[in-house]
Amino acid sequence: MKKSILIVGVGGQGVLTAANILAKSALKEGYNVITSELHGMAQRGGNVECAVRIGDVLSPIVADFSADAILSFEPLEALRNLKKVKEEGIVITDVNPIIPPLISLGMGSYMPVEEIFEKISSHCKLLKINADEIARKAGSLLAKNIVMLGAFSALNIFPIKEGSILEVIRESFPERYVEVNIKAFEMGKESINEDMNESI
């Protein structure tokens, strides 16, 4: 078994934390797991990507057209990394753009989100989620990454039980933040389930 996903977003959105929680959950269930991340320059508002691979895997980098899913915390970042996901795969993305500061300076332009979604849909399955809104409802915008994890978990792409992820979430945050993160996870998961029911 080989499963790979890519978690992408903008520095500060909690991409690495989400990847770490997923990796620890996989280990809890006895899977081999690899993640790879980039530090340094990438932290200051730049784009961030982190691969999470489980099973019979060795390479820290995901090959093109081989990821089972991209979990994107920002629409443009989903498109930037689209090449990584296979055609049978899925992109789950938040819908709220973060405009790169260079664009405010008049350098380049931010592609209209509808166009971004169209391009993604023409390659693979696309699932949109307003993770900002859900995180706010759950109690903190900072829990956006956990909302995204909840959504990912609902899709059963990794054979990891929800209970293991919740356990790692409990271990990963100081006590006063645990509740809001668990709520964020549940609400992220429900948003996908509702979505699925609607499409049926």
Binding site: V10, G11, N20, A23, K24, L27, N32, V33, I34, T35, S36, E37, L38, H39, G40, M41, A42, Q43, R44, G45, G46, N47, D56, V57, L58, S59, P60, I61, V62, A63, D64, F65, S66, L76, E77, L79, R80, L82, K83, I99, P100, P101, L102, I103, S104, L105, G106, M107, G108, S109, Y110, M111, K119, H123, L141
Partner: protein, 612 residues
């Protein structure tokens, strides 16, 4: 604490190295932080501080040294005194340490000494992508190259033993994709002991010419022994997947090769060189004799390839060897599963039919954080400096001054090159020169060029951006800090006294968050004939951010005349256009308040109610 636990843990390659050092009962660890090596030392610093917090005295000593050369010299003294030592640095840090390093190979050590060089193919956070495996050959020192976090730990432990057996420091060479990969690592029970070194004098540790001439052949003898060890090393492994052709690889590339063998169903023999210097000559000859053709898969320089070609030639082995230049295998940038997969598909005559997809989206380069004091300094400087001013810069977050609208970075080579090159620019041209350097970099490599500038009376403005930390690499302390990597109180250097002590005549200390004051200081410095120094002092905005009271600013849309100075000149990332209006993103605003001073229409004010 996770890093001290037992059993299977998910560790970063760098954490695995730290864990290996702890399990090997390391006594001394030194570093100068640099991506992608930083977390090795940061982990040890965290362990030391954690142990102290629970009332235990750490059994090892750890230090963020002033630079890599001092870090290496400190550890070398410990190792020749019989202690186990670890020194970690990024690849270009080895250049700084290399003066000590090259001769240290002659002198050797008694306690095990592992020198970690973390290379950065593709320059993810570096000024070049030099291949430090060449340092092993250059200095004649043994080298191990892990392919995974587990191996990073195992090899660190083995390297201590190897170092003691050979009485030579041993290089552990990683790359970004090993240092910054997390994987499952088996963590065993361990106990550490507090030891004291004993320096025993002998006539062979003062490397005057006569001694050095005696030491060189001794080093070569030790390396002959190292080659015999390499022949038997458990890290030099042959795997047989059938077929007549062979692949030789090392480091992270092994993973790409191994997955390509699985995915493409390739039949071949595979030699993985974990101890990649000195090479196991006999093992390589035997391997080549069993093959018709060989493909060498290694990132960056043809380090293995040139040596293996030479071995084949010398031994008359009849085999065709392919490496750099074959198919997709280049000397530039890190390899990926696709680069290696394509080369292997071509080599084994298989189809490689991955379609192309070109995605053209706006780049998202890293930027100075909202509230970063460097932005205020750059803004003030650009207001008063002549347009053709030359801005030599240095290594740190502030190198991002390169980006518009500041464009306060024109020339950069390495740590400390700002002041050194400023001496040259001020002499070679009639342009004004304003050189920037960070506080940690100033202590690391900025002092000698400043001495040079004082001594020769070079005419430029040196601005030290003092944000009280080594921000770029993760906020490590430096000689200006009052706590060290062990959590002990230290003697913090007073930068102004240091500069004054060097004989600089014109010095001003400013808080860049006061724009007018900073502009005036820069004007005076530019008018001063000779060397002038401005210490632009304000803490990194990320320091203590969780403890600060949360204030944010907002724009009064009635007063705003849309002159856009806040966006086009100041360029704080918290500002954005909402249709025609300019607004401040309250989740990004850090409340530094500098923008209030740059708005000509007094349209920016403190938001009355705090946000959640």
């Amino acid at each position: 604490m996770e890093l001290l636990g037992v059993g299977k843990k998910i560790l970063l390659g760098n954490e695995a190295i730290a864990r290996g050092a702890l399990e090997a009962d390391v006594d001394i660890a030194t570093t100068y932080p640099g991506t992608p090596s930083s977390e090795i030392a940061d982990s040890l610093s965290a362990v030391a501080r954690y142990l102290k917090s629970i009332g235990e005295e750490p059994k090892f000593y750890f230090q963020y040294s002033v630079n890599e050369k001092v870090a290496l010299e400190f550890a070398a003294a410990s190792a020749v005194s019989g202690l186990r030592a670890l020194t970690c640095m990024k690849h270009v840090g080895m250049n700084v340490a290399s003066d000590a390093f090259m001769t240290y190979a002659y002198v050797g050590c008694k306690g095990g000494h592992v020198i970690v060089t973390a290379d950065d193919p593709s320059c993810h956070s570096s000024q070049n992508e030099q291949d430090n495996r060449l340092y092993a050959k250059f200095a004649s020192l043994p080298m191990l190259e892990p392919s995974s976090p587990q191996e990073a730990k195992d090899m660190t432990m083995e390297a201590f033993k190897l170092s003691e057996e050979l009485e030579l420091p041993v290089i552990l060479r990683t790359t970004t994709r090993i240092s910054h990969t997390r994987g499952v690592v088996e963590c065993n029970e361990f106990e550490m002991s507090k030891k004291h070194g004993k320096f025993e004098k002998n006539g062979l540790m003062v490397t005057v010419p006569d001694v050095a001439r005696k030491l060189h052949p001794i080093l070569l003898e030790k390396m002959e022994k190292a080659e015999r060890i390499s022949e038997e090393s458990k890290f030099n492994i042959i795997e047989d997947f059938g077929g007549e052709d062979g692949i030789i690889t090392s480091g992270v590339s092994y993973n790409y090769v191994r997955e390509a063998i699985d995915d493409l169903g390739i039949k071949c023999k595979l030699l993985k060189l974990g101890m990649s210097y000195p090479l196991p000559r006999k093992k390589i000859i035997d391997f080549m004799n069993g093959c018709r053709r060989i493909l060498i898969v290694e990132e960056l320089e043809p380090f293995l390839e040139e040596q293996i070609m030479a071995i084949a030639k010398e031994e008359g082995v009849n085999v065709i060897i392919y490496g750099k230049g074959y198919s997709s295998l280049s000397r530039c940038y890190e390899y990926t599963p696709d680069i290696v997969g394509k080369a292997m598909a071509d080599f084994f005559g298989m189809e490689w039919n991955k379609k192309e997809m070109s995605i053209n989206v706006a780049p998202r380069p890293p930027v100075l954080c909202p509230g970063c004091p460097h932005r205020a300094t750059y803004y003030a400087v650009k207001q008063v400096a002549p347009p053709d001013t030359i801005y030599p810069t240095d290594i740190g977050c502030y190198t991002l001054g390169l980006l518009p609208p500041y464009k306060t970075a024109d020339f950069l080579l390495c740590m400390g090159s700002s002041f050194g090159s400023a001496c040259g620019f001020s002499h070679a041209t009639k342009q004004k020169v304003i050189a920037f350097i960070g506080d940690s970099t100033f202590y690391h490599a900025g002092l000698p060029p400043l001495v040079n500038a004082v001594h020769h009376n070079h005419d430029f403005v040196a601005i030290i951006l003092d944000n009280s930390t080594t921000a770029m690499t993760g906020h490590q302390p430096h000689p200006g800090s009052n706590v060290d990597g062990m959590g002990n109180e230290t003697m913090a250097m007073d930068m102004e006294s240091v500069v004054r002590g060097l004989g600089v005549k014109h010095i001003e200390v400013v808080d860049p968050r006061n724009i007018e004051q900073t502009k005036e200081a820069v004007k005076r410095a530019l008018e001063f004939k000779g060397l002038s120094v401005i210490i632009s002092k304000a803490p990194c905005i990320l320091l203590g951010r969780k403890k600060r009271e949360r204030v944010t600013y907002e724009i009064d849309q009635d007063k705003c005349k849309k002159c856009k100075i806040c966006i086009t000149k100041f360029a704080c990332p918290a500002f954005y256009f909402d249709e025609e209006d300019i607004k401040i993103n309250e989740s990004l605003c850090t409340g530094c308040g500098v923008c209030v001073q740059i708005c000509p229409f007094n349209a920016i004010g403190r938001k009355s109610e705090g946000i959640k």
